[in-house]
Symmetry: C2
Subunit: 342 residues, 2 copies
């Protein structure tokens, strides 16, 4: 049996979109607006009317049409969420935090994935805006001019997440990636490491990773040091990429004593390389990551890293979006995890 709206209209229950509010109203013997009020438990209604309407809706299998409801009323119960990727658990974490809060308030998340491309982001923003969402949540502060203009002119709340290094459009929730880089460098310097290398990924696209690297270099410089070596892969971050990169880097620079990775995926890859090559961590080589992923925190030697409050950032962003308060920056900071790899 084939589903889909292909069969010709027949009974009142088999028309285009199924049962409508007026079907319910008729069945209950009341007016449309009364039925509407009852179904939305808004305003007052006689107990008996209420039961008649609810019964009719139940009997008919009525499913409200929010498209029509949204068009007729003011705001929709849709919130757009735009993330660069779903391949790194960091962003699902963000969604998870946001969706929990949104769902609680009866909102639905419409998700868009940019693949770290600002033009794709622009297209997505345009597309999401056309659904007239109640608000838009988006990762990062870096957008095209047109994206920024659309966001600013949409007349809805916009929350930019995960970054506070730059100026936001409306509401910003996150932390400073530059500062994250700085803190990481200071940690390494304080532990006495001096031959420090950086292993990263696709910095042109991942602007936040680039900002961390900037901060890291700046703090090294403040400490009178500079990078002893560097390997940046032109691909998304991944365990495999980190593992290979460290192998390459060590082959050329056997003398480094610590590596700062662009994130935990890369760092765990590096850690796996050390394990399989019998490289003593941290005695022979120290490793430092970013994000505080589960896999990093529970490794045989917990990775030294910065734990980012991703779920909380998603949840807080959603909360602020719904609260409709004045624009501003909310900082939810990372936490230094002094693991066993430094």
């Amino acid at each position: 049996m084939k589903n889909g709206p292909r069969q010709p209209p027949s009974g009142p229950s088999e028309r285009r979109g199924g049962i409508t509010l007026s079907d319910v109203a008729r069945e209950a013997g009341v007016g449309e607006s009364t039925a509407s009020r009852v179904l939305r438990r808004q305003g007052s209604s006689a107990l008996e009317t209420r039961e008649r309407v609810l019964g009719a809706a139940e009997r008919l299998g009525y499913v409200p049409n929010r498209i029509a409801g949204t068009l007729a009323s003011t705001g929709s119960k849709l919130v757009g969420i735009i993330v660069p990727s779903l391949a790194n658990i960091v962003f699902p974490d963000l969604l998870r935090g946001a969706d929990a809060v949104l769902g609680e308030a009866g909102f639905q998340s419409v998700v868009g994935v940019t693949d770290y491309d600002l033009d794709t982001e622009e297209r997505l923003v345009e597309s999401l805006l056309s659904w007239r969402p109640a608000g838009l949540m988006i990762a990062g502060l870096d957008h095209t001019g047109r994206t920024r203009a659309m966001l600013a002119g949409a007349g809805i709340r916009v929350v930019e997440m995960l970054d506070t290094d730059g100026i936001g459009i409306d509401t910003v929730v996150g932390f400073s990636n530059r500062e994250a880089g700085r803190v990481s460098a200071r940690h390494l310097l304080a532990r006495g490491y001096r031959r420090i290398a950086y292993i990263g990924h696709d910095l042109a696209r991942d602007r936040r990773a680039a900002k961390r690297r900037d901060g890291f270099l700046a703090a090294l410089a403040e400490g009178g040091q500079r990078l002893a070596a560097e390997d940046v892969v032109m691909a998304h971050s991944s365990i495999g990429a980190g593992r290979e990169a460290l192998g390459r880097l060590l082959a050329r620079h056997a003398d480094i004593d610590a590596v700062y990775f662009s994130n935990d995926d890369m760092a765990i890859g590096g850690y796996f390389h050390c394990l399989s090559q019998g490289i003593a961590v941290p005695e022979r080589l120290a490793l430092f990551g970013f994000n505080g992923l589960d896999v990093a925190l529970h490794a045989p030697q917990p990775l030294s890293t910065l734990l980012t409050p991703r779920v909380a950032i998603g949840a807080t962003s959603a909360r602020l979006l719904l609260a409709d308060e004045a624009p501003g920056v909310t900082t939810l900071d990372f936490e230094l995890i002094a693991g066993a790899t430094t």
Copy 2:
């Protein structure tokens, strides 16, 4: 500066929802329907008219209102996707595969997370259906009766993913979890393991994990064996849970020689336990997982596991949903990865 729809209506560009199609039409000096056709590049229009309309839209910063468009036309460009969790990368992978295909076709994903709860799932289905999506993708075959009824009666395409052990509502894309369990058991038996244990998570909620366990037990029985020990945590799967569970299990059953885990998260946790306790893998203890996560494939000793085509399942599901073909089951099978832990 505060955004949001709080300012009183002023000029035509500052009304409720911003610029409308009739604003564009007026600006271009054409009728609404003409403007509509041009903007949707549908039907024919004079080159000059076309340019006038496009120019006007551009100038006014027109963003179409898809809510209105959807209501007026037949089908929406929204597709609902329901997954049990976002904490396990498996489901973001599914979304990723689906969203890529959907986005390509101009559709948007509306995501719902059930947290492995069938009542939450029911509520989500109802809620998503109210947006009159073009179709619904949902993980698993196990739903409440009411969910099933709503799905069957919605008049839209429904794709159930990741499981083929049971009967579907419309279209099914996935593999047999029972068979996955079987294959895993046979692998372990073939390698000569005889004191085999199981470590799992929250089976009451994760029905697919339960099916794998069933299949595993069945194949053990076929081989004349049975479980030597078992530890099931009442929580979501995680690396930490797997690590602790193996510690506990080994404390009580020092003699087991292999462990089948409910998934790779749990298995990697077990592997980490072995690494930190100096337990020789696989000589002293063999480990077998499920999913073929990145972290498992790239571990110092690649985990023996079953690689599931999650992204492909998402993509194929989306494709079938849009193709609107006859209902049926599409099997995209797992692949046995004979890693270094067995």
